[in-house]
């Protein structure tokens, strides 16, 4: 027993000894003989002359010295060597690839430690400084005043020739003579950028390294090389291989026979798993399911009755057609799209969270598009490049179509945008806004996590950093960090003649009236404050009271201590609720509210402003550089526009042409991108969208990770079905409504939601669709349904969002309309910092920057809200009132009517018995008040699982 292990020990010891001996004696490793074979064997697959992942080539000393996209791979100290950091940290070779052996790692370490010797000495190439080392600096520091918009002193610094041409004071540079070059003098004496304008134009002074680069460039004669931007060419792409393109989602959907069907694919897979479809759900279940799914509200009793009794064989398809034609459909499915786009009614970013005044126009555009069944390809093209479709600036008349196209581009403006703030409009913040737009497009439309490649090549997918910046260049004509428009200025005043006339006629008198009332409002606020002080601090002097009002006009952090104390005294009594206030205060509050209501009323009558929150190409994009590690002041290679190489054959250039050669100059880059995206042959566009629609119908996508079809995403549960649906979708002219029909008419969709024993064993997640999964209503459906069954839903569509009230203790609730009722949830104001409490409680998401799948929580605050909130109670009372009108005094009739109204069915016998008994009990406990008993009963039904869950 002992012998073999002893032997092993001895051998190991000997080996160690031998190694030590050998290491101590061995000569320092040399690249050509010792290192190159290791690197080419272990790393060559991805980092060779032909394939350069991360733009790194490890095949020669020269290319190693040059490094990759993250900078130099080899720096003389081990601790600073990026190559060593990647190897030592276990990052490289990546998981799943053959790893370096221990001796190999040791060898590499020793090579690096001993100075990375090679036979032919290769010092780091001293690369000449060219114009493309200088332009990025000039763009960051100078061109705001000396560029496309402003030419201070007659000077434009964007190109070498314009630098030489100079301005009023002469040429900006003298090649070979930095000391006498004006631009160097101005920068070094800090005359430029001027101190008092740093913040005004959001410029930071160039650091010494940048000044050194400028100097060196001029000293060496201001070299200008012919450097073409890096764009896709006709030769194979060294950064992305054909193997990378083999990933299933990057291949075109595979055509199958057109006469296949959803059910065929689903049943085949079920059968293979020993399962089958569940029986068809009963008619009432199908009615409720379809209504909530397509419109987000249940049927009225009459509608329910009609479908329930319709004898025709095609009652179901007729119902689906009826629902798809309802304007409620766009409000429901438009909301899903708004999640994807990251819709919000405020800019976010800063604590003041300014309101996005006309974001709602985009919301209405989306709803309209869904209702019109606008083909999805057109819908995308308008949102991505609506401004490049028609030359509105040279149009004789402005049409609705032009307006719509421009409103649609609001899609690219949905992320958080703090650049309108006084201090948050520097280049990094602008890059953040652009990145959000890219993230929304990538995750929502392309199913790709493109944003991961912003700082370094994508860790899992073959998206080199270069491709992120090529992609960014597509937007450079409109969203240019060096020629930026803040959200305040990025707006067009444009509309049809009719609308312009309407605004000119309607608004001025209303605005005058509002202004007058606003004066009254201010007075009422003052009156209220004074009354609060008089009532709560009778001893306070009049001087102190007026000093308090004066202090309130000063920003809180600029107040003196006595002023702070005065204000605090007022605040202390301001937070006291009405019930504990003297009558005069309550009265003063009431008159203030009355004036505010009047103002609101008038504001509602205002014609919508002509403003459009759009994105438009301005025809003069600044050059796009790859930013090393994503840092705004670490520019590297110049790139041109392009789409991710892995989605192309790698040999086809991206072709953007100005769309209006004789009209307004525009790059046409986004239009070219949108056309490529919707060509019908794109591997992702149709798949990603049918998958989203599937998700909304069934609760899970065929690909579960809706936002990620890349290698880290989940594989589709039914790949052939996904492809078949995608192809049908395109063949159906990208019709959304046809897609709904296809899905909803399937037997798969019509199944019951009951889970059998065997289904529970083998398909508990319903990924195989052995049953229809039960689902909780989302926040919008729940709120809208509650209001609807209580007849408190105002179905007025569109227009500015309904404002919200924020109560003293933080509760956010929507204001009712003039009808005294509330509008559908999609029409509420979604300010990032004041999301309506009920929506938040039922999982309305934080848009960061968008939301691809909503989480569904089952938590006690939801139950507490439905049980205890006074407004829910009022809705129950309102429902009870409707029931009494219809059913009279008969308790049995009442119970049935409640079921019909709230649940679109009749109660079962057991439910009826329980209900009647409870109604009787309630009545006794309410001392014979049968109306009160019915209110309690209705409230209970609105809390029930039968109401909140959809079968």
């Amino acid at each position: 027993m002992l012998v073999p292990s002893m032997k092993k020990f001895l051998i190991t010891s000997l080996c160690v000894f031998f190694c030590l001996l050998r290491c101590a004696q061995a000569a320092d490793p040399i690249f050509e003989t010792d290192i190159k074979p290791v690197l080419s064997r272990q790393c060559g697959k991805c980092h060779s002359g032909k394939v350069r992942k991360g733009n790194l080539d490890l095949s020669s000393m020269k290319s190693i010295r040059r490094g990759g996209e993250s900078g130099e791979a080899l720096i003389d100290k081990l601790s600073e060597s990026y190559l060593w950091a990647m190897i030592d940290g276990g990052e490289m070779p990546p998981d799943g690839e053959p790893q370096l052996s221990k001796p190999e790692v040791k060898l590499l370490r020793r090579w690096l430690e001993t100075g990375a010797a090679s036979k032919t000495p290769t010092a780091l190439e001293e690369t000449a400084i060219t114009q493309h080392d200088v332009y990025p600096i000039v763009l960051l520091r100078c061109t705001t005043c000396h560029g496309p918009r402003l030419k201070r002193g007659g000077l434009d610094l964007r190109t070498k020739s314009s630098m030489l041409a100079g301005g009023k004071s002469g040429p900006a540079l003298l090649p070979g003579d930095p000391n006498n070059s004006l631009m160097i003098q101005r920068i070094e004496t800090e005359a430029c950028p001027p101190r008092e304008q740093l913040l005004k134009y959001f410029i930071r002074r160039p650091p010494a390294t940048e000044v050194k680069t400028l100097r060196k460039w001029i000293e060496d004669g201001a070299r200008e090389d012919e450097i073409q931007p890096d764009i896709a060419g006709t030769t194979p792409d060294p950064l992305v291989t054909d193997e990378d393109r083999q990933h299933w989602a990057f291949q075109r959907p595979k055509a199958a026979s057109a006469d296949s069907s959803i059910d065929a694919y689903i049943t085949a897979k079920l059968k293979a798993n020993g399962l089958s479809l569940s029986p068809t759900a009963d008619r009432d279940t199908l009615i409720r399911r379809a209504y909530l799914d397509l419109t987000g509200i249940p049927p009225t009793v009459d509608e329910w009755q009609e479908w329930h009794n319709l004898a025709a064989a095609h009652w179901y398809s007729r119902m689906i057609d009826h629902l798809l034609a309802s304007p409620r459909y766009g409000e429901r499915w438009g909301r899903h799209w708004l999640d994807l786009a990251g819709y919000a009614d405020s800019e976010g970013g800063v604590s003041s969270d300014p309101i996005r005044k006309v974001a709602w126009k985009y919301r209405d555009y989306v709803i309209r598009s869904f209702n019109k069944d606008k083909p999805y390809d057109q819908f995308l093209i308008e949102q991505i490049a609506g401004d490049e479709l028609i030359d509105h600036a040279n149009a004789d008349t402005i049409t609705n179509e032009m307006v719509d196209n421009l409103v649609a581009t609001g899609f690219l403006r949905m992320g958080i945008d703090q650049t309108g703030s006084r201090t948050m409009n520097f280049v990094p913040e602008r890059l953040g806004v652009i990145n959000d737009a890219i993230t929304v497009l990538g995750s929502g439309v392309m199913g790709l996590t493109l944003e991961c490649a912003r700082c370094h090549s994508h860790k899992y997918d073959a998206i080199p950093q270069r491709d992120y910046y090529r992609f960014k260049a597509i937007f450079q004509g409109a969203l240019d960090e060096h020629d930026w428009l803040t959200f305040k200025k990025r707006a067009l005043e444009l509309d049809t003649l009719e609308r312009r006339r309407q605004v000119a006629k309607t608004n001025p008198p209303l605005k005058a009236e509002i202004k007058k009332l606003d004066g009254k409002r201010k007075q009422a606020i003052t009156d209220l404050r004074l009354e609060l002080l008089r009532q709560h601090y009778p001893e306070q002097s009049d001087d102190d009271r007026s000093a308090t009002l004066k202090a309130l006009r000063i920003a809180d952090n600029n107040r003196s201590q006595p002023q702070r104390i005065l204000v605090e005294k007022l605040q202390t009594v301001e937070v006291i609720p009405d019930e504990q206030q003297p009558d005069s205060v309550v009265e003063a509050r009431r008159s203030l509210r009355a004036i505010e209501d009047q103002i609101l009323k008038l504001e509602r009558r205002l014609a919508a402003p002509l403003t459009i929150r759009a994105v438009w190409d301005r025809g003069e994009p600044s050059p796009t550089y790859i930013l090393r590690r994503g840092e705004h002041d670490k520019p590297s290679r110049l790139v041109g526009p392009g789409v991710p190489s892995v989605l192309t054959d790698g040999r086809t250039p991206f072709n953007a042409k100005p769309p209006f050669p004789d009209g307004t100059p525009k790059t046409g880059r986004r239009l070219a991108f949108a056309r490529w995206l919707t060509s019908g042959e794109h591997p992702l566009t149709a798949r990603v969208m049918v998958n989203r629609v599937w998700y909304h119908h069934f609760g899970t996508g065929l690909v579960k990770t809706l936002e990620n079809f890349g290698r880290q995403g989940e594989l589709p549960s039914h790949p052939e079905l996904l492809d078949w649906l995608a192809i049908q979708f395109v063949n159906d002219g990208w019709s959304m409504k046809q897609l709904h029909r296809r899905i909803m008419l399937s037997q798969t969709y019509r199944q019951s939601s009951r889970v059998s024993e065997s289904a529970n064993e083998r398909d508990s997640q319903a990924r195989l669709l052995s049953h229809m999964p039960l689902r909780r209503m989302d926040a919008e459906s729940l709120r809208d349904s509650l209001l609807y069954v209580a007849d408190q839903l105002d179905l007025t569509p569109g227009g500015p969002p309904d404002r919200v009230d924020v109560s003293l203790n933080g509760l956010v609730s929507a204001k009712p309309t003039e009808s005294g009722r509330w509008r559908r949830s999609i029409y509420l104001q979604y300010r990032r910092t004041a999301i309506p409490t009920m929506m938040e409680a039922f999982d309305y998401p934080e848009m960061g920057p968008n939301c691809l799948t909503r989480s569904v929580s089952t938590v006690s605050p939801q139950s507490l809200m439905l049980m205890n909130d006074g407004r829910i109670r009022n809705l129950a009372a309102s429902l009870a009132g409707r029931v009494i009108k219809l059913a009279g005094n008969d308790e049995r009739q009442r119970v049935e009517t409640v079921y019909k109204m709230a649940l679109s069915r009749l109660p079962t016998d057991a439910e009826r018995t329980l209900s009647l008994r409870a109604l009787n009990e309630f009545k006794q406990q309410w001392q014979g008040d049968s109306k009160a008993a019915l209110v309690t009963y209705c409230h209970t039904i609105l809390n029930s699982a039968a109401f909140i869950y959809v079968d």
Binding site: T423, P577, E707, S863, N868, A918, Y937
Partner: protein
Amino acid sequence: MIAQTERNRRDFFARTRDGVLGVALAQLLHDDFFPGQAFGEEQTQREQFDLRAKQPHHPAKATSVIHLFMNGGPSQMDLFDPKPVLDRMDGKPYPGNIEEIGNTGTNDIGVMMGTRYPFARHGESGMWMADVLPHTSQMADDLCLINSMRTDHPNHDNALYKIQSGRLFMGYPTFGAWTVYGLGSENQNLPAYVVLNDPLGPPKNGTRNWTSGFLPPLFQGTRLRPTGLPILNLKPQFEQPSAVTESARELLGKLDKLHRRDRPFYPELDARIESYGLAARMQLSAGEALDLNRESRSTQKMYGIGEQWTDSYGKRCLLARRLVERGVRFVQIFLEEQPWDSHADLAANHRGACLRTDKPVAALLQDLKERGLLDSTLVIWGGEFGRTPTTQRSANGYSGRDHNMQAFTSWMAGGGIKGGTTYGTTDDFGHKATENPVSVHDFHATILHLLGLDHQHLFFERSGLEERLTGFEPPRVVSEICA
């Protein structure tokens, strides 16, 4: 092919994200519906989140945190970091390039301003503190002053995001959220992460100061409402005889059970049924924990409760102790808007802010100590940045200081902190951190370290990226201040 997994309890728990009761609910359901099975034995492909207490990465020095957030930016050179050179230059112009002051603009910069209050050494450690902190200074030997804090933005909004979430922008989880994500909570009947607001109003940036960002909402701070019921909808907001409420609850239970009976294998239906009982338990727990009348008169007095200036803050400090005592993991106390932001009248304004907070803060430390809780509670005091050595123009002339991101003071005490320590130094003007600078990432990494969490191992995967509180570049745990 997709993995076939059983519909199991854990899937349901994964969807049960209850900021208050998720886990209690989970355990209850487990007991009720899955008798005889060990809790959480199967593996599932779906990631699950809950608030059960979790094992730290390494032994923890502190098990809970009270963060006394001093919004607005307290002045380091007027409270903790005396600067004789600055005092001597009082009234003289700034001796360098005023762009170095490091603020957004340069237009309103005035002259150098010396310390506004007399300083003295305190405790055995001889820690410097100004006379406007007469109570805190008595606890000097328990405190560790970090005089070399610095941050990355001179705006409140961004500096607030930074100090709370480690990022300059909106949408990232706060370090409170990361803490409960990493450690869960000891008490499932109270929120894990509690925010105590000033009744006069929210701080600047509002609810963003305790957001869970991209982490599940389960981990966000729960604000106890300062007026009315502390937790929303804890009681009916309408008149109804309690007998009716009882009967209605009974009817609901029966109807839902009928509904469930017809729909086996849907655990979410079970969850709904049970959530009502749990709501009742929560009502009891919260009521007891929040009732300050259960404290002795002398304890209340010690916190300054009942006194004009200290009553409000004192109550919140005492509440914080009661919560921590009951196993709440993370408590944050805020002041209204930004009381320390003294652009004007600094001498009086800072004196006022001290008057409100100094006594309650010292009482909290003393009280925790007496109850043996200070050893396991990390108390953190500080704001989002400091103040400039120069004055700034305001409505009241030149009487206050502007924001300073290059140096400020925070202090820590309790769990795992080396008391009586003054760490790091600033230049002669208190303007820039010089020796041992502590970045916000370092600060967060140190807090996590004391809580037994390794900042590198605490991450959340989002779109294929590992997100961390402390960002990509590794920060430094300031081990010199740890006991």
